[in-house]
């Protein structure tokens, strides 16, 4: 039995289950027509990749690492902004009393983010929790100094 086109595409992507991979490989060893089909799929995939090259920008990485350092050292206004937004979301979905329970003294903003997202996942579901996470992280001022967060 010849493998379907879909199965051959998955095979060429190394995405078939181990038993399927073995079965298809055995089949290809003896079926010239399917070997040619698989070869054609590989060539077509190569064409889709033609011209692909890295666009990673070293300046972009430097900016990220610089923002990360500012965050770690408490020099970033983003942490204050994030905490404020998270407290508002906790208040909205879990009530004002929950804010004091979840946002305990000494909890960093990033820890509060993870804690509250776990909470939202339980109460709102994964998709809604992700939407809340995206919302609170949207357009934070990563480069703004901490002292300007309240300005």
């Amino acid at each position: 039995m010849h493998p379907s086109s879909g199965l051959l595409v998955s095979f060429c992507d190394a995405e078939t289950a181990a038993w399927q991979t073995r079965r298809i490989a055995r089949h290809l060893a003896k079926c010239g027509r399917c070997r040619e089909r698989a070869e054609r799929i590989r060539r077509e995939k190569e064409d889709l990749l033609a011209g692909k090259r890295s666009g990673a920008n070293p300046a972009g990485l430097a900016g990220i690492l610089s923002a990360a350092a500012a965050w770690r050292e408490g020099r970033s206004a983003a942490a204050t902004q994030l905490r404020r937004r998270l407290d508002e979301e906790i208040d909205t979905y879990c009530g004002a009393a929950a804010v004091g329970v979840i946002d305990e003294p000494g909890t960093r903003a990033d820890q509060l983010l993870v804690k509250s997202c776990e909470l939202f996942e339980v109460f709102l579901g994964p998709a809604a929790a992700e939407a809340v996470r995206d919302e609170v992280l949207q357009d934070l001022d990563w480069a703004l100094p901490a002292e300007e967060a309240d300005a």
């Binding site: 595409v9 064409d47 890295s54 666009g55 990485l61």
Partner: protein, 179 residues
């Protein structure tokens, strides 16, 4: 390995592909670049807070996608569906930061659905089926089916259009297939 090193390694390996993907979805190059930066900032914050992320690569691509869709929604409030927001025509960046195959840029014209195009694009960035499924919110089996269907459409379009010169550059490369 420290978190910063982890982020740097991911950036070196994934930022190029993320930018290509972002450029295909974003209305302009600035939003594409912002999306990639934002994804890495967010990854840093979540990891720094103790979140474990099974596939950081899929997570990053998902954040890029959500970020751009949010930006596009903000800029087109009366657009009715998420699918219709996807500009899958091809890379919007032209400053050398992004380069992609000619064939990828003509996918919308040969009848691929936005979902199929996204699957093909993510696959060309070496995401596994499970990772593509996670980015697009689909089942892995659906990704396999979409890719198989996309492949079939591409093959049919290429063979039908060989003589029409619809994508001349691509077909110049295609000639070797016939030999």
């Amino acid at each position: 390995m420290g978190l910063e090193q982890e982020i740097a390694d991911l950036y070196i390996h994934e930022a190029g592909g993320m930018l290509r993907y972002a450029a295909a979805l974003a209305p302009d190059g600035d939003i594409a670049r912002d999306a990639v930066q934002e994804a890495f900032f967010r990854l840093f914050v979540c990891r720094s807070g103790g979140q474990s992320i099974a596939s950081p690569k899929a997570w990053l691509f998902r954040v890029v996608r959500n970020y751009i869709l949010d930006q596009r929604k903000a800029g087109a409030r009366n657009t009715s569906s998420l699918e219709s927001l996807l500009n899958v025509a091809g890379p919007a960046l032209t400053d050398g930061g992004v380069h992609t195959s000619e064939l990828l840029t003509v996918l919308p014209r040969i009848g691929l659905s936005p979902r199929e195009i996204e699957c093909v694009r993510l696959r060309t960035e070496d995401l596994r089926y499970e990772e593509i499924a996670s980015v697009l919110g689909l089942q892995a089996g659906t990704v396999g089916a979409l890719l198989a269907r996309a492949h079939e459409k591409i093959r049919n379009a290429v063979s039908q259009k060989k003589k029409s010169g619809m994508f001349a550059g691509t077909l110049a490369r295609e000639k070797r297939y016939a030999s």
